[in-house]
């Protein structure tokens, strides 16, 4: 797997899109810190962007890379390499290069503004950690969609729909159901619903760590009681790990049964 990963990673790191993605974060970080030199507040603004943008880029990049490297894949399949290693190598190549753009792009401006000497370092690390998780999750989902759809346009469509659902529609349905069922106790329901969507889960995790849960009102108090505890934190991490692992395992399964 190492060799496939190496070539996919190099291929991507050299590509124009990785640079654009990297430069975007670099510019974003500097602009935010220039306008607002409070690191903690910059972390909150960044969170709102990362939580929507990282999944979008992960899905689009993932599907695009899979379809564009069809030739490379076919070349590899005839070589003495294990099948699962080909696909996992490509997946980690994409997810790795996207994560690198994110971490370095944001890391550089925050470092120059004295991140290491401030106490925002934990919040910032959490933000980066969540960003990397979201990259892994959505690239994985994108690879799954692409391997199951021979038709590029269809695969691309499904991938964008998936992102739209997770980032926008899910919240809409969630809020609607809260209004419709407002007569009933909704604590458990809203907690489970938040945990099930990796985007919502990431947002809640960061908001609670930043200690601005008061903004969330009553729900905030309920959430704080669960997510604010050690147990809540580890349960959330476990859910994120599961969201990462399940697409990887399905990718492995699909790859071992596909004809090329």
């Amino acid at each position: 797997m190492g060799k496939v990963l190496k070539y996919s990673f190099y291929d991507l790191v050299r590509s124009r899109w990785s640079y654009i993605y990297f430069l975007f974060y670099l510019a974003l970080g500097f602009v935010l810190l220039f306008l607002n030199s409070d690191l903690s507040k910059a972390v909150i603004t960044l969170m709102n962007i990362i939580i929507v943008l990282v999944p979008l880029i992960g899905t689009i990049f993932g599907t695009m890379y899979y379809y564009n490297s069809k030739e490379f894949t076919e070349l590899l399949l005839a070589q003495p390499i294990k099948r699962s290693h080909i696909f996992l190598g490509q997946y980690f190549g994409v997810a790795g290069s996207l994560s690198l753009s994110l971490a370095v792009g944001l890391g550089v401006p925050f470092m120059t503004y004295g991140l290491l000497r401030s106490n925002a370092i934990f919040d910032f690390s959490l933000l980066l950690g969540v960003g990397i998780f979201l990259t892994l999750i959505f690239t994985g989902l994108a690879f799954n969609i692409a391997i199951s759809n021979e038709n590029k346009i269809k695969g691309f469509g499904y991938a964008v729909l998936l992102w739209l659902f997770m980032a926008v529609i899910y919240d809409g349905i969630f809020l609607l159901s809260l209004i419709v069922f407002e007569e009933y106790p909704l604590d458990t329901f809203s907690m489970v619903a938040t945990t099930l969507n990796p985007i919502d889960l990431s947002r809640t995790l960061i908001l609670l760590k930043l200690d601005i849960s008061a903004l969330l009102g009553y729900t905030g108090a309920v959430f704080k009681r669960f997510f604010g505890t050690q147990l809540g934190f580890w349960v959330s991490m476990l859910v994120l790990v599961l969201w990462t692992l399940i697409p990887i395992l399905r990718l492995k399964y699909k790859a071992s049964r596909k004809d090329f």
């Binding site: 060799k3 496939v4 070539y7 291929d11 050299r14 590509s15 490297s69 069809k70 030739e71 490379f72 076919e74 070349l75 590899l76 399949l77 005839a78 070589q79 003495p80 390499i81 294990k82 099948r83 049964r257 596909k258 004809d259 090329f260």
Partner: protein
């Protein structure tokens, strides 16, 4: 060398291979022929493990290949259409394949043979079809595997390169290697192949030497003999 028993493969409703049995002896050159869509490429891809059979067994060098991948180290493969990652340079591609196979390739001589030196630093997406096919040939011939599988090796080659290709094939034969070749150019087949395997409707319709083929069909010319084979089947 290769032992195939009762191989079945369906793509959706399209049954491509219907119980194919084939034995490939070492040290001979086999030409796999058949009309378009008769399952030649599916057969080759099954041997390589790129297509997974629905039923049947394939053994390469005495070992079943199901779920295996190490046996591919013994096979050099020339794919039908040379599709390479476009953003790589020829030199990088050759280096990459050598690295992936963990093998010291012997590409220098082949690069000279096909006069590819001026193209080494060009990106693959900028090469013409014929040049791509030459790169494809370098990749397939640069290792010293026991078994060579060539899918339409003469596609897009100019006469000069075609002569070089035939020389390469006869060199490999002299080394005692086994070759599987598909081609639609009968003159080429007649020049290089020891045995003909004729596929029709997902089964082996004829297997034997070129002399056998001519005898069976009462023809002096391979092209006509193949035409007769196809025709008798359609009439019957």
């Amino acid at each position: 060398m290769i032992q195939i028993t009762d191989l079945h493969k369906k793509f959706g409703k399209n049954e491509v291979l219907k119980g194919l049995d084939l034995t490939i002896e070492p040290g001979r050159i086999y030409a796999i022929l058949g009309p378009n869509g008769s399952g030649k490429t599916t057969l080759i891809k099954s041997i390589l493990g790129m297509v997974l059979p629905d039923k049947g067994k394939i053994e390469v060098l005495g070992k079943p290949i199901a779920k295996g991948w190490k046996y591919r180290k013994q096979i050099d493969y020339l794919p039908q259409i040379a599709n390479f990652p476009g953003n790589l340079k020829v030199r990088e591609l050759i280096k990459m394949i050598k690295d992936l196979r963990n093998d010291e390739g012997n590409e220098e001589l082949l690069i000279t043979t096909f006069s590819l030196q001026p193209h080494l630093d060009k990106k693959l997406s900028n090469l013409s079809g014929g040049t791509k096919q030459k790169v494809n040939l370098v990749l397939a011939f640069m290792f010293n595997s026991q078994l060579l599988i060539l899918d339409e090796p003469n596609t897009g080659l100019d006469p000069n390169a075609l002569i070089k290709l035939k020389e390469l094939i006869s060199k490999e034969r002299a080394k005692g290697k086994t070759l599987l070749i598909t081609s639609h150019v009968m003159q080429f087949v007649e020049e290089v192949a020891d045995e003909i395997v004729y596929l029709l409707e997902g089964k082996i319709y004829f297997k034997g030497t070129i002399a056998d083929l001519k005898n069976v069909t009462n023809q002096q010319n391979v092209e006509h003999a193949i035409a007769v084979l196809t025709k008798t089947e359609q009439d019957g």
